[in-house]
C-alpha cells in the first residue's frame, strides 16, 4: 500500500511538472509567434515601398505616394529641441541629486518625488499641457518648438533617473580621491565622474530619444500636422509617429505608406539603440585600456 501511495504522489508531481512546462512553452510560443507575425507583417507590407525616393521626397496625395523627407526632418528637429533642452537640464539635476544632495535630504526628496510623479503622467496629458502652455500661453503656436519642449518635459524624468543612477554607480573612491587632492567638484565631475558614468548617461539619453521618437499623443496637439518641409522652429512639423497615425486612421489607401513609415521608425529605433550600446561599450573599453 505504502509504495503505491508514493508512486501515486510521484505521478501527480510528474503531471504537475509536465503541465507547468507545457504552459510555459505555450506562452513562449504565443509571444514569439505574435511578435514574429507583427514584425514580418510590417516588413512584408512596408519593405517594397521603401527606397531612396521614399526617404528623400515629399509626401504626395496625403502621403499615399511620395516620401517622408519633410517628416524625417521635422522628427529630427523636434528631437533636437527636446534633447537640447532636456539633456543639460537632466544632467544638471542628476548631478545635483547624486553629488550634492544628502540621502534623505529635503531638497533631494522633493525633487525626486516630483520626478517620480512626472514619470507617471500619461503622455496625452503632456500633450494637453504642452498645448495649453507652449502653444497658447507662450504663443508658440503649433510648432516644432512647442512639440520639442513638450517632449523635453516628458523625457526629463527618464534622463534624470538614468543619469543619476549612472553617476551613483561610479565608485566613491574617486570622489574621495579627488576631494583629498583639493580638486573641485566641478573638475572631478568633468574629468572623472561624468566620463566614468558616460555609458550609463548615453544609454539613458538613447532611452529618452527612443521614447520621444515613438511618441504620438503628446505631439498631435503641440507640433501639429503639417507635412511640409519645415523652414523654422516656429513652423508646424509632422513627426513620423504622427504621420503613421494619420496614414492609418485618416487616409484610405494609406496603409502601405503607413507600414513603410513604421518600418523606417523601427529601423531608426533599432539603429539608435545599437549605436548606444556600441558607444557605451567603446567608451568603457577605452577607459580601461587607454586614456
Amino acid at each position: 500500500m505504502h509504495s503505491l501511495a508514493v508512486y501515486r504522489s510521484a505521478h501527480r508531481i510528474a503531471l504537475r511538472d509536465r503541465t507547468l512546462q507545457l504552459l510555459v512553452l505555450a506562452a513562449v510560443v504565443v509571444i514569439t509567434s505574435t511578435f514574429g507575425w507583427l514584425l514580418l507583417d510590417i516588413v512584408w507590407h512596408g519593405a517594397n515601398r521603401i527606397g531612396w525616393e521614399f526617404l528623400t521626397a515629399a509626401p504626395r496625395s496625403a502621403g499615399r505616394n511620395g516620401g517622408i523627407a519633410p517628416i524625417l526632418l521635422a522628427t529630427v528637429l523636434i528631437l533636437t529641441v527636446a534633447l537640447a533642452v532636456s539633456a543639460p537640464l537632466g544632467l544638471a539635476t542628476a548631478i545635483l541629486l547624486s553629488e550634492f544632495s544628502r540621502p534623505g535630504g529635503r531638497a533631494g526628496y522633493w525633487i525626486g518625488l516630483s520626478l517620480d510623479i512626472l514619470a507617471g503622467v500619461p503622455s496625452i496629458v503632456f500633450g494637453l499641457f504642452g498645448n495649453a502652455f507652449f502653444c497658447v500661453w507662450l504663443g508658440l503656436g503649433f510648432s516644432i518648438l512647442s512639440g520639442g519642449l513638450t517632449l523635453a518635459c516628458m523625457v526629463l524624468p527618464i534622463l534624470i533617473r538614468t543619469a543619476e543612477s549612472g553617476l551613483r554607480t561610479v565608485p566613491n573612491d574617486w570622489r574621495l580621491g579627488a576631494a583629498a587632492l583639493g580638486i573641485s567638484k566641478a573638475s572631478a565631475l568633468v574629468n572623472v565622474l561624468i566620463p566614468a558614468a558616460a555609458p550609463a548617461l548615453v544609454a539613458g539619453l538613447m532611452l529618452g530619444i527612443g521614447r520621444a521618437m515613438a511618441e504620438t499623443a503628446a505631439l498631435i496637439f503641440t507640433s501639429g500636422y503639417v507635412d511640409r518641409m519645415p523652414a523654422s522652429l516656429l513652423d508646424s512639423g509632422r513627426a513620423i509617429s504622427v504621420h503613421i497615425y494619420d496614414l492609418t486612421m485618416n487616409v484610405a489607401g494609406g496603409d502601405r505608406s503607413a507600414y513603410a513609415s513604421a518600418l523606417v521608425l523601427i529601423a531608426l529605433l533599432i539603429l539608435i539603440n545599437g549605436a548606444a550600446s556600441w558607444l557605451a561599450e567603446r567608451t568603457l573599453k577605452r577607459r580601461i585600456t587607454a586614456s
Binding site: 509571444i31 505574435t34 507583417d41 545635483l96 516630483s114 514619470a119 573641485s184 509617429s241 492609418t248
Partner: protein, 284 residues
C-alpha cells in the same frame, strides 16, 4: 578662479536646473487646474459622474463610461499579459539554455521598443478585420485589450525577469539539493519569493495601459458607452482627449482637462502602489 569658487558657481547652476526640472511638474498641475477650473466651477465635480452622458454639445460631461472603458481594457490587458509575461521570464530564467533564453530576452526588449502607434497600425489592419469577421464592427474592447496586452507584456516580463535574476542562486541550489524538481522550485520558491516585485511590475504595467492613448484610440471604436460585451466599441479616457482635443472649445475643452486630471490621479495612485510594494521602475 579657485576650486571652491568654481564649486559654488556649479552648485548655483545645478540648483537652478533642478528647480526648473521640478517646476515642470508644478507647471503641469497648475495648467491642468487652470484649464479645467471653469467647467468644475460651473458644474461641480459630481456632474462628471452623474450627468446624463457625454454630450459636449448638449453640456453634459459624464466621464463614467470612459473611466469604465479605461478600466476594462486595462484590466483585460493585464489579465492577458501577466501570465504570458511571467511565463516568458520563467522560461528565460529556468528553461532556456543560454542562447535561447537570451534570444527571447531580446525579442521582448525589441517588443518593448515598438512604438504604440505601430502596434495600433498593426491592430487596425490585422486584428480588427479578424474580429470583424466574428462580430462587427471589429474595433472593440477586445481589440484594444489585445493591443494593450502586447504593449505591456514586456514591462511585466522584464520586471519579473529582473526579480528572478536577483534571487540568490543559493535558493535554487538548496532546493535542488532537497531533490525538488525544477517545477517545484518555480512554484514553491521562485514565484513566492518574487511575488512583490511581480505585483509591482503589474501595477506599473497597469499605469502604462491606462495612460496609453494612440494604440487604443486606433482600434477600439471610440463610442462612449458602458461596454456590455468584449465586442462592443469603447472609448477610453485617453482616446477621448486625443479625439476631441483637436477641436474642443470652451467647457468642452475644459472638461477634457478634467479627464486629464482624473487620468493622472489614477495613474499616480497605481505608481504609488507599485512603489510601496518595492517595485523598480523598468524603463522599457
Amino acid at each position: 578662479m579657485s576650486p571652491s569658487a568654481r564649486d559654488a558657481r556649479l552648485l548655483r547652476w545645478l540648483a537652478f536646473a533642478a528647480g526648473l526640472a521640478s517646476a515642470v511638474l508644478i507647471l503641469i498641475v497648475l495648467f491642468l487646474m487652470q484649464e479645467s477650473w471653469p467647467v468644475i466651477a460651473r458644474y461641480g465635480l459630481v456632474h462628471f459622474v452623474s450627468a446624463r452622458g457625454w454630450h459636449p454639445t448638449e453640456g453634459t460631461f459624464n466621464l463614467v463610461p470612459m473611466l469604465a472603458a479605461s478600466a476594462a481594457t486595462s484590466a483585460l490587458a493585464i489579465a492577458l499579459a501577466t501570465p504570458l509575461g511571467v511565463a516568458a521570464a520563467i522560461f528565460s530564467r529556468f528553461y532556456a539554455a543560454g542562447i535561447v533564453g537570451r534570444l527571447l530576452h531580446w525579442v521582448i526588449v525589441l517588443l518593448a521598443g515598438i512604438p504604440s502607434v505601430v502596434l495600433g497600425l498593426w491592430g487596425l489592419t490585422v486584428i480588427v478585420p479578424l474580429i470583424l469577421k466574428v462580430a462587427p464592427p471589429g474595433t472593440s474592447l477586445l481589440a484594444g485589450s489585445l493591443i494593450l496586452a502586447l504593449m505591456i507584456l514586456p514591462t511585466i516580463a522584464l520586471t519579473t525577469e529582473a526579480a528572478l535574476a536577483s534571487l540568490p542562486s543559493a535558493y535554487g541550489i538548496g532546493a535542488a539539493a532537497l531533490g525538488l524538481s525544477r517545477e517545484a522550485i518555480i512554484i514553491n520558491i521562485a514565484i513566492p519569493a518574487t511575488k512583490a516585485s511581480i505585483f509591482a511590475g503589474v501595477m506599473l504595467a497597469s499605469a502604462r495601459a491606462l495612460g496609453e492613448t494612440m494604440a487604443v484610440l486606433m482600434v477600439s471604436g471610440n463610442v462612449v458607452q458602458l461596454p456590455k460585451s468584449l465586442f462592443d466599441p469603447v472609448r477610453t479616457l485617453t482616446a477621448n482627449i486625443a479625439l476631441e482635443m483637436a477641436y474642443a472649445t470652451g467647457d468642452h475643452r475644459a472638461s477634457l482637462f478634467v479627464s486629464g486630471l482624473a487620468l493622472t490621479a489614477v495613474v499616480l495612485a497605481l505608481a504609488a502602489v507599485a512603489r510601496r510594494s518595492g517595485g523598480q521602475v523598468v524603463h522599457a
